[in-house]
């Protein structure tokens, strides 16, 4: 399986069904295991996060982000791995992000963690799952008719912007600063007992 073919909505023609099935299941299972073990899937942790009382989920997210970024750019530097740059649509991210946040605060689950919640028996997540599919149906019906021009027209940078490119520095500078900021934040959170 070629590792330089990265999917962003396009299927890799070289990968068979069984391979895709096993690969997806494996990575999902490890992710689900870590999410559950870390209690990230729990409603109380998600709402506690949004209430700024219990920052467990934030610690998890930022740790993953720092380690992940370092790993990605090691892949880039050592294995010459590349990936498509993500386009920026400021209006879509701001509007969509806030709308997501509203739903997140109401529901107490996000798309990934709700599946983990189901796995540990918290079956109210199935309602969120049903709602999530319904929300997608609504979005699909609205987006190209009503939304797309404004939401994806304002503040659009379709070529993608990376932080290190914008700042004009080596990516390791960004990663080092990001890591340092996160570590300082973690230290502060532990001191505050959050």
């Amino acid at each position: 399986m070629s590792s330089s073919l990265l999917e962003m909505g396009v299927s890799d023609p070289q990968t068979g069904f069984i391979q895709t099935l096993l690969s997806g299941l494996f990575f999902g299972a490890v992710f689900g295991f870590l999410l559950q073990r870390g209690h990230i899937v729990r409603y109380d942790k998600q709402i506690g996060l949004l209430q700024l009382r219990d920052m467990t989920v934030l610690k998890f997210m930022l740790s993953a982000a720092v380690v992940g970024a370092a790993g990605m750019f090691l892949l880039h530097d050592l294995m010459f791995e590349t990936w498509p740059s993500r386009p920026v649509f400021i209006m879509a991210f701001v509007a969509g992000g806030i709308i997501f946040g509203i739903g997140w605060g109401i529901c107490g689950y996000c798309p990934g963690t709700l599946l983990g919640a189901l796995g540990e028996g918290r079956w109210d997540a199935v309602w969120a799952l049903i709602g999530g599919v319904a929300g997608s149906v609504v979005y699909a019906n609205l987006v190209h008719k009503h939304i797309i021009g404004f939401i994806y027209g304002v503040g659009a940078y379709s070529d993608g912007i990376d932080l290190h490119t914008v700042l004009g520095v080596n990516h390791w500078v960004v990663i080092a600063v990001f890591a340092a900021v996160c570590i300082a934040l973690f230290w502060w959170l532990e001191r505050r007992g959050l």
Partner: protein
Amino acid sequence: MDRLRNGGLNPYIAGGLTGVLGVLSVWIAGKFIGASTSFARGAHGILNLFSAEHASGLQYFEKYFFKAGDWQLFFLIGIIAGALVSALLSRSFRWQAVPDMWRARFGASIGKRAVVAILGGAIAVFGARMAGGCPSGHGLSGIMQLSVSGFIALIMFFVGGIIVAHLIYAGGERKLTPPAGSETPGGEQ
């Protein structure tokens, strides 16, 4: 520095391992971790069952069409399985219809929780598709790439969530306390 609440895995370690996992999934499988795209594909699949003509007329599904061999779909099924195994091994599996914090604030009614969760889920995924992903797929994976998009999206997810959570839980218990009466929201300050 370890804050192990109720025997859970240290979030720094769990998060760090997740970061490694994310890199491995790119390297080995050629896929970034994510979740919400499958909701869009699932929506296509379901809409197709009801009205194939309508579904095929929607431009959105030209990119986000249902496919049976979707890696992310298996990834999501894997999450359920992995969480189940972890819960059983750590004896934290609990068949529960209403989360503790919810019950303390809004009561034990399953129906009430269902309606709100459906509504919340719909709004959340609607927003996620507009934003081009959810915290895992756009936030985490985007930041791993050092994409400006990932940072913007994640910040906006939190802005919306923090405001709403404060509005919903305002005036209620700030800590999890046992419910005094099932329907009475806490008013203590």
